[in-house]
């Protein structure tokens, strides 16, 4: 029998989508029966109490978690999100309900062995409830007590060779699209680079030293499957600088509506959109109108291609990204607080992604940006806000990057233009008497 009545939550067990309520109830029951004889280190009925407090919140329309919480493991300044219930008498099982962030593998590929040892640990020392995964990327272990934190950390590190993720004013857990592991669009090995950056900057990840949080995300191409341009202070988006590779025979297979060559790899098969029409669906939709299909030949004026991915996405068997690949670096994306939402702005149009020199071209940009932001950033000021406050020009100076037209969507429309004194003949020191010699009062 369930410990608490949950009439409102019960309604969420209906409908076709996997019900989190049914899953939680199942977990509560597994713990109640405890057929495996686990020596639970936190209250056996914590999942019942989680359902109970959630039901209460449904009733009240208010959260029942107290403000904040500062817990963690020695040596690190983050990784654990402390949380306490504000109704501990009614729901003692969730009086402590801390969340542990565990650093996920690149691309989130797992073996069942690993997941089994993780769930065994979490059933024993936590609620057994998880979030796979947090929006930043971490494996989220949802709900344990303070004394268990060091214990879980010990087992993670000693038995599983597994570290915590990031939280607080630091480098948060980097994440990537699955990249070259199984996508033919990937312009660089996102898995390798995300792994490198995560290891390289472990100190910055575990011990908050920044004015505020900072995130890396890595996308293999402009499709942005990990949404780096919107959800990371520094976004690495794969691209190429030579020509799109065209297989003309395959293009014609698409044009002839060969069933083995469905447009967009069949993504629109759920509805009849008529036979494939290359003018209407590809050349006519190219944002720069740099394509032509004539006499059974597709022509791309690559100098005017902005590498939007559209044509490649529509005809993946005929068109391939170029061979000279690298990535663009965009900076400053953030959610609205404090001064408005931002997406990443282009800082480096093209940089090589070279594991042989430890990605030196990339780490140089990262470290220049950090040096500036760590010195100039105000308390809780995201990089995007510092760029707004001190100017994109300043960012270019500190990264040693020359301004170029690609840095703007359009030039400024107002004439409030600052000049450096040494750019102006004669400088700023002027004598009004000198002026009066030519202009009477």
């Amino acid at each position: 029998m369930a410990k608490h009545e949950t009439p409102l939550l019960d309604q969420l067990e209906t409908g076709p989508w996997p019900s989190f309520v049914s899953d939680l109830k199942q977990q509560a029951e597994v713990r109640a029966k405890n057929e495996k004889g686990v020596e639970f280190q936190i209250p056996q009925d914590c999942v019942d109490d989680l359902l109970g407090v959630l039901e209460l919140s449904f009733k009240h329309g208010r959260t029942h978690w107290k403000h904040g919480g500062i817990v963690g493991v020695f040596g690190y300044g983050g990784g654990v999100i402390g949380r306490y219930c504000d109704q501990p008498q009614a729901f003692p099982g969730v009086e402590h309900f801390h969340t542990m962030r565990v650093n996920q593998p690149a691309g989130k590929f797992y073996k069942t062995d690993y997941l089994k040892s993780l769930t065994e640990l979490w059933d024993f020392r936590g609620s057994g409830v998880t979030n796979m995964h947090g929006a930043t990327g971490d494996i989220i272990l949802l709900g344990t007590t303070t004394p268990q934190l060091e214990e879980v950390f010990w087992t993670l590190t000693h038995d599983m060779n597994q570290d915590l993720g990031g939280s607080g004013s630091n480098l948060r857990t980097p994440a990537d699209c699955l990249g070259q592991s199984r996508c033919e669009y990937a312009c660089y090995d996102t898995n390798a680079l995300v792994y490198f950056l995560t290891n390289e900057y472990q100190d910055e990840l575990h011990r908050p030293a920044f004015p505020y949080k900072f995130k890396f995300k890595l996308d293999g191409c402009p499709n942005c499957c990990v949404a780096s341009i919107a959800r990371s202070d520094m976004s690495f988006i794969g691209t190429w600088k030579d020509d799109i590779r065209i297989d003309q025979d395959a293009v014609n297979k698409y044009v002839e509506n060969d069933p083995a060559y469905p447009a967009n790899a069949g993504a629109h098969k759920g509805k009849d959109w008529g036979p494939f029409d290359i003018e209407k669906e590809v050349t006519g939709l190219c944002p720069t109108k740099c394509m032509k299909f004539e006499n059974k030949k597709l022509f791309i004026d690559n100098a005017n291609c902005t590498r939007c991915m559209h044509c490649i996405n529509v005809m993946p068997r005929a068109l391939k990204v170029g061979k000279e690949t690298g990535c663009s670096i965009l900076v400053g994306a953030k959610a609205p607080i404090l001064d408005g939402a931002q997406m990443g702005s282009l800082l480096v149009p093209f940089v090589e992604v070279n594991p042989d020199n430890d990605y030196e071209a990339i780490t140089e940009v990262i470290e220049n940006v950090w040096d500036w932001w760590m010195e100039e950033g105000k308390n809780r000021e995201r990089l995007g806000e510092l760029i707004m406050r001190q100017g994109f020009q300043k960012l270019l100076e500190v990264t040693g990057i020359d301004p170029m037209p690609q840095h703007v969507a359009y030039p400024r429309t107002n004439p409030y233009i600052f000049w450096k004194e040494d750019e102006v003949t004669g400088g700023w020191e002027r004598d009004v008497e000198e002026y009066r010699k030519h202009h009477q009062r």
């Binding site: 403000h67 500062i70 963690g72 493991v73 020695f74 030293a209 004015p211």
Partner: protein, 105 residues
């Protein structure tokens, strides 16, 4: 919330072991907290960090940013972690009696 007694003093603390009222700080508080924070003996350097935090808090009403703490104490962050294993927030601020750090921690 709880009240704890230590060496004849009593302290009101929250679940995370932070003092509820900065004015209740005394050296006994440091003695009480240090073992939970993985510190055997308080060295001069420990006290220096505590004093800097307190001066800053009294003047400015907030805890200093990590970078400012490093500048004021001339200790690198790495050294602050050597002194206070759970870091400047959970370790040093707690000992200095400052309010609990907030935000997206």
């Amino acid at each position: 919330m709880a009240t704890i007694e230590f060496n004849g003093k009593s302290f009101e603390i929250d679940e995370d072991g932070f003092l509820l009222d900065y004015n209740l700080y005394s050296e006994e508080w440091v003695e009480y907290v240090k073992s939970q924070e993985g510190i055997e003996e308080m060295s001069d350097e420990h006290w220096q960090v505590v004093k800097v935090l307190q001066d800053y808090y009294e003047k400015n009403g907030i805890a200093p940013m990590v970078r400012v703490l490093s500048k004021l104490t001339k200790f690198k962050l790495k050294h602050i972690y050597e002194l206070f294993p759970s870091g400047p927030g959970k370790g040093a601020c707690k000992m200095a009696g400052l309010p609990k750090p907030t935000g997206c921690v």
